[in-house]
Amino acid sequence: MANVRLIARLDIKGPDLIKGVQLEGWRKVGRPAEFARRYYEEGADELLYMDVVASLYNRNNLTDIVAETAREIFIPLCVGGGVRSVEDADKLLRAGADKVAVNTAATKRPELISELSRRFGSQAVVLSIEAKGAGPGRWEARTDNGREATGLDVVAWARRGAELGAGEILVTAVDRDGTFRGLDLDLVAAVSAAVTIPVIAGGGFGAPEHLAEAVLKAGADAVAIARALHHQRTTLAQVRVRGLAQGLNLRRL
């Protein structure tokens, strides 16, 4: 089995770390760099920064926060939100990000994925998909925090993204986000079966047990955890210890 990654996800609006329920109703949680440092010290395998309003306002303002973070945090950092071009990605990578996540712009212009992976390598390109239930065993890709429909089938879009050169798929269950009910295992399993690149499962993580089911039942290669960490419902250490006890291949600290 490949090694499983625990990814701390920080949703950012302006200078603040925020967290909403089902990708709506944002609340401020604190300063991103402080939380990032805490998660680094607690053993996060990776950090994910998402500018949640960037695509609404056609901007990307994460560069400063990324540069500040990269000065003191020595684990991989993925940054998304408002990446529309090779230039946008270049700015973030130069500021210290290791990968960029694309969503809205890629749904409008899928070749962006190829442009990014040709220029920076597929390891630097994550296709982020917000998945909204659309009937039994079917999900539609959404953008703008689940609000905007794209008409794209999630599984087909994931497969297409991988073919275009994405190095990883981040799939977030819009209906589960911030609910702590656990990840959408059917969704993650469907995406994981469709691609040969790593799949990061997000949306709904609420308890340490949710890791093993996402990995063993749904084939997730990594989980993205946000609100459960910000509100200290669980810690990365608890998730890691529980996962190791359940026989998962996780980094031992």
């Binding site: 490949a2 395998d45 990269a70 991989p76 130069r94 920076f120 390891q123 290669d221 980094r251």
Partner: protein, 219 residues
């Protein structure tokens, strides 16, 4: 420790995090694309992310391939990271056959598409994996890995892997679905790391600090 460390900039990859990690370890990183600065540096880091052919083309276009070879021949400590490690080898099979720097005998090949159990696995190999002493070693005394205990996990992201011709050049391996992948190599003053020490938390910083602290023969 020699304070000035040349970070070879050949136009590929995120060099910011390597520079930050070197600075955190108390040394002074100098990002340079000038062959003269590379030849004169007390210590060199050859970083890089991307395709082998692009990396070598970037080095050659700036005359940096000869400069890196000259510095290595003069006994300066040289650390290759990820693509920078793969370019230390004689050749690579990534998208065709390409010549490398030839500082370490061997070649770079694709990670096999399935594990030891014959089942397909994910490529690239992304994530944290434990280091296993290799090349007949039981530990890493006298190498930049010396501060690490066996099984310490570090961060990998790669689709190709080095296959050193001389078993003694293997410093460390990792286990990926039952396959042993080369994780670190060393030959005299030349050391290569497949993993990213600048992205491997405190363990990675300890490797960089040990490289910065080591003598020319360290490795």
């Amino acid at each position: 420790m020699s304070a000035r460390v040349a970070i070879v900039d050949y136009g590929l990859g995120n060099l910011f995090s390597v520079c930050q990690a070197v600075a955190r370890c108390g040394a002074e990183p100098e990002l340079t694309a000038e062959p003269g600065r590379v030849r004169a540096a007390g210590r060199l880091i050859l970083p890089g992310v991307g395709a082998f052919a692009d990396g070598m083309a970037g080095l050659r276009a700036r005359g940096l391939d000869a400069a890196v070879r000259a510095a290595a021949a003069a006994g300066r400590p040289l650390l290759g990271i990820c693509l920078g490690m793969q370019m230390l080898f004689a050749e690579s099979e990534e998208f065709g056959r390409h010549q490398g720097l030839g500082l370490i005998p061997g070649r770079v090949v694709a990670i096999p598409p399935s594990g030891a159990d014959g089942k397909p696995h994910k490529i690239p190999h992304i994530g944290w994996n434990g280091l296993i002493p290799a090349g007949g070693r039981s530990g890493w005394e006298g190498t930049p890995l010396r501060a690490l205990a066996p099984a310490t996990a570090v961060y990998f992201v790669h689709s190709f892997v080095a296959d050193p011709a001389e078993p003694a050049d293997r410093l460390a391996e990792c286990d990926y679905d039952g396959l042993r992948l080369t994780a670190a190599v060393g030959r005299g003053n030349v050391v290569g790391l497949q993993f990213h020490p600048e992205r491997s938390g405190p363990a990675g910083l300890a490797v960089i600090a040990a490289f910065l602290d080591g003598g020319a023969g360290d490795g």
